[in-house]
């Protein structure tokens, strides 16, 4: 059983108890993905699985067999930052930084979901395919990612700058 992590094939562990989170951090040496609550409540462990944001703490590594995982290490590097990473720095979208990799992976997933018309709890017209990423939409769609430093305003600013159209921010 194997998985593609940030473009490279990797062998999955024999013990099915290993979570995708522990597999990434402890077996592959990719500590960017963070362990917060380890029970699906905080979003710090968010990664992209076949492009969809998921919680790696509640995913068994074996469930990723044959699939494609992208972590923060696969989105950008210090020398070649992802546009969202630049925007998080520009807008003070973090303080301690612990939740940041999860926030950024989550926001990348958010953009894909909104782009294909996935509604949210605050979407007014369910029949519309065209989602305007207002601050209210971004806050709701990022509600699975907690920041205990309280950097949420900067986080919403960074996502708005990166993904929202001029129409949504007017």
């Amino acid at each position: 059983m194997s998985v593609i992590v940030n473009g490279s094939p990797r062998e999955l562990p024999d013990d099915p108890r290993v979570s995708l989170l522990d597999f990434l951090r402890e077996r592959l040496g990719l500590p960017g993905t963070k362990k917060g609550c380890d029970q699906g409540a905080c979003g710090a462990c968010t990664v992209l699985l076949d492009g969809e944001r998921v919680l790696s703490c509640l995913t068994l590594a074996v469930q990723a067999d044959g699939r494609d995982v992208t972590t923060i290490e696969g989105l950008g590097t210090p020398g070649d930052q992802h546009p969202l990473q630049k925007a998080f720095i520009a807008h003070d979208g973090f303080q301690c930084g612990y939740c940041t990799p999860g926030q950024i992976c989550s926001a990348v997933g958010l953009a894909a979901e909104a782009g294909r018309g996935v509604p949210s709890h605050v979407t007014g017209d369910l029949t519309s395919e065209d989602i305007a990423l207002t601050r209210e939409e971004i806050r709701e769609r990022m509600s699975g990612n907690l920041c205990r430093c309280g950097a949420h305003n900067g986080i919403v600013d960074a996502i708005t700058e990166t993904y929202a159209s001029a129409e949504a921010t007017a």
């Binding site: 013990d15 099915p16 108890r17 979570s19 380890d38 029970q39 699906g40 979003g43 968010t46 699985l49 969809e52 944001r53 998921v54 919680l55 509640l58 995913t59 068994l60 074996v62 469930q63 067999d65 989550s106 997933g109 958010l110 979901e113 294909r116 018309g117 996935v118 509604p119 949210s120 709890h121 979407t123 369910l126 029949t127 806050r139 709701e140 769609r141 509600s143 699975g144 990612n145």
Partner: protein, 328 residues
Amino acid sequence: MNPFTYTKATDAADALRHGAAGGARYLGGGTNLVDLMRETIEKPDALIDVTGLSADIVETGDGGLLIGAAARNTAVAEHETVRTRYPVLARALVAGASPQIRNMATVGGNLLQRTRCPYFYDADGARCNKREPGTGCDAIDGFNRGHAILGASGACAATHPSDMAVALAALDATVHLRGADGTRSVPLTEFHTLPGDHPETETVLRPGELITAVELPPLPFAAHSAYRKVRDRASYAFALASVAAAVDVEDGTVRDVRLALGGVATKPWRASRAEEALRGQPATPESFRAAARAELEAARPLRDNAFKIDLTERIIVAVLSQLTGADQ
């Protein structure tokens, strides 16, 4: 976490073959089961991953919708037919959990998720008849603000946590099952059982039986439906109380209505008494209030949750008023 084996089922027959073993559990997205295994509340010997089974969402010959049990919650919420013809279901789905969890969670797994009663989760410190049958319930005389006012017993007052299932209850959904003896279908409203003396039993599933699909019958007036959820924070929280409603009004009179409640009952609660009280009545807030009271007469509050009676009444009146324009 206790040791277990992992098998990815190639099709339903393969899943049933592996699932027949005692101690085997079917695995969907794992958002609840993996957490419970980590808490050693669930201790399966074998996990049979059924996420490779049908996740298709297809229209049926009679104008309904068949949703494969492996369909992810996000996939159902974004499906065009769901958004346009069954908006109550799309609304209930996006009111539940977080986007990450909705990307993982399957329809079948959502129906089988366990209660979030804190006493059920506290394996080291609390008695729970659902977790350890016959040991007692620390919630009934404990902190029970979040617990059920409908359908509880002296053994258990834990609420069913699903939002999706509340919409399915309102929509007369049926659950398609497959077991060693063949296939059968059960109305969603009869799929979950009341706790009675055996809160450890939560559904009518037989050992090894697999959920293969959920079917929505055609219901033209469901295009005019809504879900309202009241919770302790604006997002990402379980319901204190929620209402799924669809209503058909002609010349100011309620011709037909579907109503179900979440967060207040031990199973997804179809409000049949309220529906009965409302059919043929004028579509006014007064009628809606009377219908809500007809349902909530059966409510039996515990020490901390009596507020749910008034809250539920107000949500029912608000949702029906919104749908019928009676709030204008």
